[in-house]
């Protein structure tokens, strides 16, 4: 009965302002998303000379190379999903229902796994388990043979440890929010503990489990660095797209865009399948009688602790290795025995502009994301019209676009006038901006929906104009959320690799790109110290976000 009235109808200036925001939002989406995507589509139907052709698509389905990449992408996608689900749900169950000593340390390590700079993960695994890896060599010295980590199994192990936090953070939240009375009711009705888990607990956490799994799956099929470093001939769509684009001889933009399209389609399909699966399963419970954590004894207790610490350390290991290696003594690119700060002094001496680029690009894109994302968020939250739903739906597209695809699409769109931006800082900033914009829109829209219209109405009834009411009541209420969102966007922006890798030139090189190059050049000291700097930056941003939001690891997803 209470009539929901758009603020627009209350005074004269607002319709104009919000209409402008809507026009601006669509302009941004058209220029930065729809045109590049359209050109990707067009480009996939063209050959090198610009003639219309189906050759790219034909090659996709006939060439062994691309068919393999397609199959391999599905293998690492679902393999990574399976691994992340296994590790993540074990971790979630133990952390939500069993008393584990050092719980804060565990969740810190999960965060560390989540924000570890890309590539350094794969690299650290090579350091330990590669052909010349420390652990492998030690074991071989004891006469135990251990295959090097390269190939599909290596990729899957890395993915499992890299992506388990998605499943863990979402599922543990859901598990600790199940009303205890529900499980007690099931018990009371005569279900065995196993039946109870399968019939009550599992269906209730399924939405969280599938949402976490979807994130793991999408990130796994989009990941470029891990298969690139560990694959050794095991190629996926992301690496093939990059190869097709970057090959010194015979660079083939048409093939790169075709592969990119397949990646987008795949991600989209998975998003829709997950949404379809959990379409009914939204459970709200007002009365939370939180489940109690049980204290295990004896062997079970040891086993639970071992499992949790094994997973947490496995996930955080790359970051720890990077930090240790960053302070190893080096001579040029070669590690020497002992510790020293040569890697850091080398960064200060010659890589200052890389760090500066990273900070400048991330800072600028975060600023854009916050301002524009908040405005669009207000529009989506306050104007519940078909138009804002369409806007919201369109914003889902960059959400599932792999970085490598954004890079290739931007090259396709902005290589020539009227918008020739390749080689500029702007193109890198905008690529980060468009990928992270959906998060900012969603989080500010969610924050705004929390505030509720009666707050502003109360201020208006007390004599404040709608503009004043918005500034005095709504903005202060959503500000912590916006700033925290900005911090989390900064974490993604500063760690962004794959689109920058396609878009960078000598003068716009960023830290993640430099890490990638350094690893390829065997300059591990530089890679480790740059990674450590990234970790410190990310950690600081996350600390600030948690101070503002209250501690909620799920905000990181």
């Amino acid at each position: 009965m209470s009539a929901v009235v758009a603020p627009a109808r209350r005074s004269g200036w607002r319709p104009d302002f919000w209409t402008l925001v809507a026009i601006g939002a669509w302009a941004i989406l058209i220029v930065l998303l729809l045109i590049p995507l359209g050109l990707v589509l067009v480009s996939s139907f063209r050959d090198e000379s610009g003639q219309l052709t189906l050759a790219n698509w034909q090659r996709l389905f006939t060439s062994t190379r691309y068919v393999n990449a397609l199959v391999n992408t599905l293998i690492v996608g679902f393999g990574g999903l399976a691994g992340a689900l296994l590790l993540g749900s074990v971790m979630a169950f133990c952390m939500a229902r069993i008393r584990i000593a050092g719980g804060r340390l565990i969740s810190m390590m999960a965060i560390l796994a989540l924000v570890s700079p890309p590539f350094i993960g794969a690299y650290s695994w090579i350091v330990l388990f590669g052909s010349g890896g420390i652990v492998r060599q030690t074991l071989m010295g004891w006469g135990i043979f251990m295959p090097p980590i390269y190939g599909v199994w290596g990729i899957l192990i890395v993915f499992a440890f890299k992506f388990y936090p998605y499943v863990y953070l979402l599922t543990s939240g859901a598990l600790s929010n199940i009303n205890r009375s529900l499980e007690e009711a099931a018990e009371n009705l005569g279900l065995t503990p196993f039946q109870r888990v399968m019939k009550i607990s599992f269906p209730l956490v399924l939405p969280a489990l599938s949402a976490g799994g979807l994130l793991a799956l999408i990130h796994a099929i989009a990941d470029f660095g891990t298969p690139r470093l560990l694959g050794r001939g095991f190629n996926v769509l992301a690496t093939e797209a990059y190869t097709a684009y970057s090959a010194e001889i015979g660079s083939n933009l048409g093939m790169a865009t075709t592969l990119s399209l397949v990646l987008i389609l795949m991600s989209m399909i998975f998003v829709f399948i997950q949404r379809y699966m959990s379409r009914r399963n939204v459970y709200h419970s007002n009365l939370i009688n939180r489940p109690e954590k049980i204290r295990l004894r004896g062997f079970a207790n040891v086993a639970a602790h071992a499992a949790v610490y094994f997973i947490a350390l496995g996930g955080a290991m790359p970051a720890i290795i990077a930090a240790i290696y960053s302070i190893r003594k080096t001579n040029g690119p070669v590690f020497q025995p002992g510790f020293g700060l040569e890697s850091y002094s080398r960064i200060i001496a010659s890589l200052g502009d890389v760090v500066r680029n990273s900070l400048l690009f991330s800072g600028t894109s975060v600023l854009l994301i916050v301002v524009i994302g908040t405005l669009i968020g207000c529009l989506v939250a306050r104007r519940n019209t078909a138009h804002s739903s369409l806007l919201d739906a369109t914003l889902m597209v960059p959400y599932v676009m792999p970085g490598i695809v954004v890079g290739v699409a931007f090259i396709a769109a902005f290589n020539t006038p009227p918008l020739a931006m390749t080689g500029t800082a702007a193109i890198i900033i905008l690529s980060v901006f468009i990928r992270r914009l959906p998060y900012a829109v969603r989080s500010s829209a969610a924050a705004l929906r929390q505030v509720g219209p009666s707050m502003e109405e109360a201020a208006i009834s007390l004599g404040y104009s709608p503009v004043q009411a918005f500034l005095k009541v709504t903005i202060p209420l959503i500000l912590p959320g916006i700033v925290a969102g900005a911090m989390l966007s900064f974490v993604t922006a500063v760690n962004e690799l794959s689109s920058s890798l396609v878009l960078y030139v000598g003068g716009t090189i960023t830290m993640p790109v430099k890490i990638y190059i350094a690893i390829n050049d065997g300059d591990y000291g530089t890679a480790a110290s740059l990674s450590t700097i990234l970790l410190v930056l990310s950690g600081t941003a996350i600390y600030l976000a948690f101070r503002l939001l209250g501690r909620d690891e799920r905000a990181l997803l």
């Binding site: 009965m1 209470s2 009539a3 009235v5 109808r9 209350r10 005074s11 509720g452 009666s454 707050m455 109405e457 109360a458 201020a459 208006i460 009834s461 007390l462 004599g463 404040y464 104009s465 709608p466 004043q468 009411a469 009541v473 202060p476 209420l477």
Partner: protein, 347 residues
């Protein structure tokens, strides 16, 4: 004398009509309640007066001036919200001072008036707290103080007690009534709780389906319901067919109605003049101490009876036969359209 006048208020949302030509007046200092089931248009009406919703047609004037031409923030109308709408980032005192600041009241005066308002709602001790730590009842007290302290021309309350528990609802109900009387402000109060409406109001406007069913004092609304809807919505009503229990067939009467408290135990078989008696089968018996409730099946009717001050030895088993009676003067009569009919039998 009319202070607030609403004339021919119509509100359409697309094809549905939320308000269908509503007119009423409220006098200075009057406590006026809009009562009705959810969806009856009462909140839409309240929000139109506040300015948060625009009428499709109709006029609203306050103290002789057209209200609809004034933007909401200049209407000087206080509002108390169902969900309290207390600003969580401001302390209790800052919440109450919020409207005074918009009016550029001097700092020292703000301090005095806030202190006075908080004393009125008995929250002085909590003035520096943040609202998150307070209970629902305390938050709604802030809401009342915040709306009253600016001395608005009119006070609107949108189901202010519906989120509170029963005991608190009774206490705060009396407090609201006392404060409103002390200040002497005209108030419009929206509720779906008929008991609350009866207890708090000078006059009640019962609404259904976007139209007014009846406007009157609590006594008129309960004692002489203008329509069958009002009769059943306010309190409980036993509806009887035209010739039930030996009642004469009066032309124009489609239905008789009788309040449960007008049915009495007639086991002694005393025949009063103008009384009707009948025998029924007890379905339920509920003993509540100060009264007892009976559900009885009789002559195809399911009747509810409330027996005041039931004797201590009164225990009636379900399935037992019982004799009940009523006085014909207590009957209400309604025509086929559900409107009240005056007959010689009924008042």
């Amino acid at each position: 004398m009319a202070y607030l006048t609403v004339e021919g208020a119509i509100k359409r949302y697309g094809a549905t009509t939320a308000l269908n030509g509503v007119s009423f007046t409220v006098a200075q200092g009057e406590f006026f309640t809009l009562l009705g089931p959810s969806g009856c248009g009462k909140t839409t009406l309240l929000r139109s007066i506040a300015g948060f919703s625009q009428l499709s047609e109709g006029k609203v004037s306050l103290a002789g001036t057209d209200l609809l031409a004034v933007p909401p923030h200049k209407r000087d109308i206080g509002m108390v919200f169902q969900d309290y709408a207390i600003f969580p980032h401001l302390t209790v005192a800052e919440n109450v001072a919020f409207g005074l600041k918009a009016r550029k009241v001097a700092v020292s005066e703000i301090r005095d008036r806030v202190a006075e308002a908080l004393a009125t709602v008995r929250l002085s001790a909590l003035s520096e707290r943040l609202p998150a730590a307070l209970s629902g009842g305390q938050q709604q007290r802030i809401g009342i103080a915040r709306a009253m302290v600016v001395k608005p021309r009119l006070l609107l309350m949108d189901e202010p007690l519906s989120n509170l528990d029963a005991k608190l609802r009774l206490d705060l109900r009396d407090e609201i009534r006392d404060i409103q009387r002390t200040i002497g402000i005209a108030a419009i109060y929206v509720t779906h709780d008929q008991e609350e409406a009866l207890a708090i109001s000078d006059r009640i406007c019962v609404m259904d389906g976007g139209s007014i069913e009846q406007i009157g004092t609590p006594q008129q609304i309960y004692g002489q319901p203008a329509t069958r809807f009002v009769a059943s919505f306010v309190g409980t009503m036993n509806l009887l067919s035209p010739t039930a229990f030996g009642l004469p067939d009066v032309p124009g009467v489609a239905q008789w109605a009788l309040r449960p408290e007008r049915l009495r135990l007639a086991e002694a078989g005393v025949a009063e003049p103008g009384a009707a008696g009948f025998t029924g089968l007890v379905e339920h018996f509920t003993y509540l101490g100060r009264e007892a409730h009976l559900t009885v099946q009789a002559q195809g009717h399911r009747l509810v009876a409330q027996i005041a001050a039931p004797p201590a030895d009164l225990a009636i088993e379900a399935g037992r036969e019982i004799r009940l009676g009523f006085v014909r003067d207590d009957l209400h009569a309604f025509d086929a359209a559900g409107r009240r009919v005056r007959t010689e039998l009924s008042a």
